[in-house]
Symmetry: C2
Subunit: 319 residues, 2 copies
């Protein structure tokens, strides 16, 4: 942290640190993992225009910046512990900072995840968060564990964030309620931390859906050396998305991106445990297909007839 | 990591990971600290025009991006373990990426510090590194431990990075050799990792000099509730800086910034241990003053007469 006007930023983020032996203000933050635990680490960088729109309310932006990182911990089944925040801002904007800090710290408190350090500087708007969690040794949910015959599940609903983005782009018109609910999904996703932890020992693999179901599921299939069939019309959708034409429902659900739901696999004999995990985590879980020994991804319609995969995965880097 | 053209970036940074149980490529990286060790974490964000000039060779930039983070570990006496890299680039520039990765990974190898994860995205050029080290429980060097009567030391030389910056700005003319040597100090600082580790149990406090000696020393004095006298003309300087007028020598040495040397305190009875630590770490260490019970910072000239402190601390945020 350098001297000067930007030091003012610190006041929005300075709190009493309890978990870290040493928090914000020394050269490093110090903390320890418990015996038998592994540290899970993930880092995400958010850039205006790529990962969020200039129209996002600062409080929701603060929430989302941490949420996308917590979602990575959730996908590993790790319990959140702490995070660092590096922030570049073109100028000190107290309204933005106050709202951003409020949203960020509210989500941090909800998950008992402490801000332990970071950096602030002047520059084009950029948010980089690195998050730390812990998971019992050998129990992390990985992308590589899916087995042929496993059931394929997803949490929550898919496609709302993409629908909201298209509404902002003007390619679709939504009524007021649909716009607000899908916008909330885009701007304030709920990381499935409790579900991820509950699925330790239950799921065989997991990933969070950030780039779109097809793209993210492909990572799991490649790492696990398996294939899958996906029941496209069984994908869980909000009422707002349900009101759209079927092609939109499929496109947003399969390739929407920015969902931050968990897609995971579990053997059929664990179906009751999956249901119990979902109940304990208070989130809906829907079975959307099966893992197959045959490689590749097969999309089936409501009559279990094959669909051609013509869906691109949401890409932050497409212009 | 999102799909698309920017995935190509990964090829420059993908290596076999040995320390982490799980490295680049899953939702999180997993690793464990050894029993009795604390994790030391630091995060720094570098922005073009603020922390580096567009003229910097990519290899030196890769070196520096990691070096400034390793310098924070050094200031805590922590042994480097691993780091994450988040990178925003306006476009995929293979020449830049190849050079950047070469410099970054060469320094990482030199310190056995593994790249275990990260993120890449399109956006204004921004480099955010979070570094992890370990230090035996309770042995981290802190800013808060300086005691009245302690000797005050600094490693290496101070002021070269500032002198190079002024040469780039055109406010000073340097001959070719002086320009190259000071430019190297600015663009390729050497983090004092070995010295920091050797000073565990020897030094009472430490900080790395990133914003300028006066500004950084002030953090130590405030945290330790002590004061200091600094022998301004005893500050270690390069031959290039020595050739400048005395006011320049003092200004660059006291308030230059971007030095990434360690300033630390140790009781007089540890003087021989300080010397031995410096020898083992193969870096010069110079005594530059004393810690006092009287608060505040007093600058003394070569006749030990008080100088008025008219030196600002280098500020990344001054326009």
């Amino acid at each position: 942290m350098s001297l000067g006007e930007f030091d003012l930023i610190a006041k929005y983020f300075t709190r009493t640190v309890t978990r870290a032996a040493l928090g914000v203000g020394d050269d490093c933050a110090l903390f320890a993992t418990s015996p038998g635990m592994q540290l899970a680490v993930s880092s995400d960088m958010l850039v205006e225009g790529r990962h969020f729109l200039p129209t996002v309310p600062p409080q929701r932006l603060g929430h989302k910046a941490l949420a996308v990182n917590l979602s990575d911990l959730a996908a590993c089944g790790a319990r959140p512990m702490a995070f660092t925040l590096a922030l570049a801002l073109p100028r000190v904007d107290e309204t933005l900072l106050a709202g951003f800090a409020r949203g960020l710290l509210a989500l941090a408190d909800a998950h008992e995840c402490e801000l332990i350090g970071g950096d602030t500087t002047q520059g084009p708007f950029n948010i980089c968060i690195t998050v730390f969690g812990e998971v019992p040794h050998g129990q992390a949910l990985l992308r590589s564990g899916a087995q042929p015959g496993d059931d394929l599940y997803v949490s929550g609903t898919l496609g709302d964030a993409r629908l909201a983005l298209e509404a902002f782009r003007g390619t679709v018109a939504l009524d007021g309620a649909a716009f607000e609910s899908t916008r909330l999904a885009m701007e304030q996703p709920q990381p499935r931390v409790a579900l991820g932890m509950a699925l330790r020992g239950v799921a065989t693999s997991a990933i969070d859906v950030s780039d779109g179901l097809l793209g993210d599921l492909a990572h799991v299939l490649r790492r696990s050396n398996v294939g899958a069939e996906v029941w496209v019309d069984a994908l869980p959708r909000s009422a707002a998305l349900h009101a759209m034409p079927l092609t939109w429902q499929r496109e947003c659900g399969l390739a929407g991106g920015d969902d931050y739901e968990l897609v995971f696999t579990a053997p059929p004999q664990n179906a009751a445990l999956v249901t119990a995990s979902a109940l304990s985590a208070r989130v809906e879980v829907t079975r959307i297909g099966s893992v197959t020994a045959v490689p590749g991804l097969r999309l089936l319609d409501r009559d279990r007839q094959p669909l051609t995969n013509t869906f691109g995965s949401f890409d932050h880097f497409k212009s």
